[in-house]
């Protein structure tokens, strides 16, 4: 599938999906005089998780927003994408169940049935009738992850979805996420500040930095160690962790 109607766009030039990769080619994004991306290219392996690391201001969130079509652009048709934000962004007047159902199309009963199924799968049945302000931070974020996984889209974008949560909860949520992602195996782009988080979930790790002419890729690596074998103390994990750590510290 080729998103060819983006060819004329000035700030996001081409996003193409080939058999095994989604290619972002010559991406250019400017906010006034501030050039965030200039002819930026990146390949995302299809049905795999790409984790993006990098210092603040390197354009990670802007990249996700460009991919989701949230940055205003004429003549650009962004691919349909699920977006899991840093904060839960649940509608406050809807229960958890209806927050999931509202992103679906079709008859209300069918939507609610699918939403309920997803909440059950995510072990969130008890949250179904609760409003966002009645949920704990971790639970609300799990509902938001469930919403992202339920939304019918080939591309899944995540912007530091586990930020600000305690470590034990982060670990549990990552486990939930990976388990459910395995079932659908959508192409996912996961922005994070945590090297360990990236190593635990990624098929490909990318480190972005801010160059003289906008964002640039400083490091790219495919990582195919089975996820079940990834843990601290495993030589490959420790080596990769220290390699990325050294790179980030040097920035």
């Amino acid at each position: 599938m080729v998103y060819d109607d983006v060819a004329n766009r000035k700030d996001v030039s081409v996003i193409m999906e080939k058999r095994d990769e989604i290619l972002i080619k010559d991406l250019s994004v400017k906010f006034g005089e501030n050039v965030v991306f200039s002819d930026f290219s990146l390949s995302l392996p299809v049905r795999k998780i790409t984790c993006i690391l990098g210092p603040s201001g390197s354009g990670k969130t802007t990249l996700l927003k460009a991919l989701a079509g949230l940055i205003p652009a004429d003549g650009f048709s962004a691919p349909r994408a699920s977006f899991i934000f840093q904060d839960h962004r649940l509608l406050p007047h809807l229960t958890a169940l209806d927050n999931l159902a509202v992103v679906l199309d079709g008859k209300r009963e069918d939507r609610r049935l699918r939403a309920k199924q997803m909440l059950d799968d995510m072990e969130l049945s008890e949250a179904a009738d609760l409003y966002p302000h009645e949920l704990s931070g971790g639970m609300a974020q799990r509902v938001a992850i469930a919403r992202g996984l339920l939304f019918d889209a080939d591309l899944l974008l995540m912007d530091e979805p586990f930020k600000g949560l305690d470590l034990a909860l982060q670990e549990r949520l990552i486990r939930y996420f990976v388990k459910h992602w395995e079932e659908s195996r959508r192409t996912a782009v996961f922005v994070t500040h945590s090297i360990l988080e990236a190593i635990l979930v990624a098929d490909k790790i990318v480190v972005m930095g801010k160059g003289a002419h906008g964002a640039e890729i400083l490091y790219e690596k495919d990582f195919d160690l089975p996820r079940s074998a990834r843990a601290l103390g495993v030589p490959e994990v420790d080596a990769l962790r220290s390699e990325i750590h050294d790179l980030l510290v040097s920035l």
């Binding site: 079509g69 949230l70 509608l91 302000h133 009645e134």
Partner: protein
């Protein structure tokens, strides 16, 4: 209800009212002329005598009907124009000067002009509408501005249709602040309608009775009608706040 809440919510307002009535008694006794300032007893006696008259309820019904109708038209148009303004920046900018002129226009100018242009039966509707509309437009329009931008971004990411964005996002986000605005504006609508009725000499209205009481120097009856207008305003404001509480509980999970 614990002791502190009883003190704050019941005793404190009662104490305030008692002080007010005491000052009223004292002032009325000091002046000693009923036409100038009747005592609270005379006023309440007048008020209770009104309760036994059919024309009292008829006048209240008509005044209330006029206020509500003008309010509903003003509110519906304010919502429509605010939504149009949200959908089209051009419309918003084009309508802005009109809204500003209507808002700063002196109420008395509106009343006097409308009295020249319209019959006395119609004037209260027009006056109430013209004064309320810019206020309500500002309330609704501001409510569309203060929606949560993060949530709005979420609706775009999840490809909400325009209809879904309006009914699942904008309307629920705006309703709490709109209902607060409505509660205040609705009692203001009654005050405006009465003022317009007084000046237009509209038949079968609270304004007409108040105007007559003033003309015949029946100050206690004028205050009795004023008391009725105050109670009507309280009732309307209370009703809307009650609706707001039910809506918040039913649709926003505020328990």
């Amino acid at each position: 209800m614990n002791g502190k809440r009883v003190t704050l919510n019941i005793l404190a307002p009662l104490a305030g009212l008692a002080v007010f009535v005491a000052i009223w008694y004292a002032a009325s006794a000091a002046i000693g002329i009923e036409i100038v300032l009747p005592s609270p007893t005379d006023t309440f006696r007048g008020f209770f005598s009104l309760l036994g008259q059919g024309s009292f309820y008829l006048a209240i019904g008509h005044t209330l009907g006029r206020s509500l109708l003008a309010f509903l038209v003003a509110f519906s148009l304010a919502v429509l124009f605010a939504i149009l303004g949200r959908l089209s920046l051009f419309f918003r900018k084009a309508f802005r000067p009109i809204a500003v002129i209507l808002r700063v226009l002196p109420t008395i100018s509106v009343i006097l002009l409308v009295l020249i242009w319209f019959r006395s039966a119609v004037a209260p509707y027009v006056i109430t509408f013209l004064v309320l509309f810019p206020m309500l437009y500002t309330t609704v329009s501001d409510a569309t501005d203060t929606v949560d931008k993060g949530l709005l971004e979420m609706t775009k990411a999840y490809r909400f249709s325009r209809t879904k964005t309006i009914f699942s996002f904008y309307v629920p986000q705006m309703i709490p602040s709109i209902l607060t605005g409505v509660a205040i504006t609705l009692s203001f609508a009654v005050k405006l309608t009465i003022a317009a009725e007084v000046l237009a000499y509209t038949g079968e209205s609270m304004g007409r009775f108040m105007q007559q009481s003033s003309a015949y120097m029946e100050t206690s009856m004028l205050l009795a009608w004023t008391l009725a207008a105050i109670l009507l305003g309280f009732l309307l404001e209370g009703l809307v706040l009650c609706v707001r509480r039910i809506v918040m509980r039913r649709y926003y999970g505020v328990r």
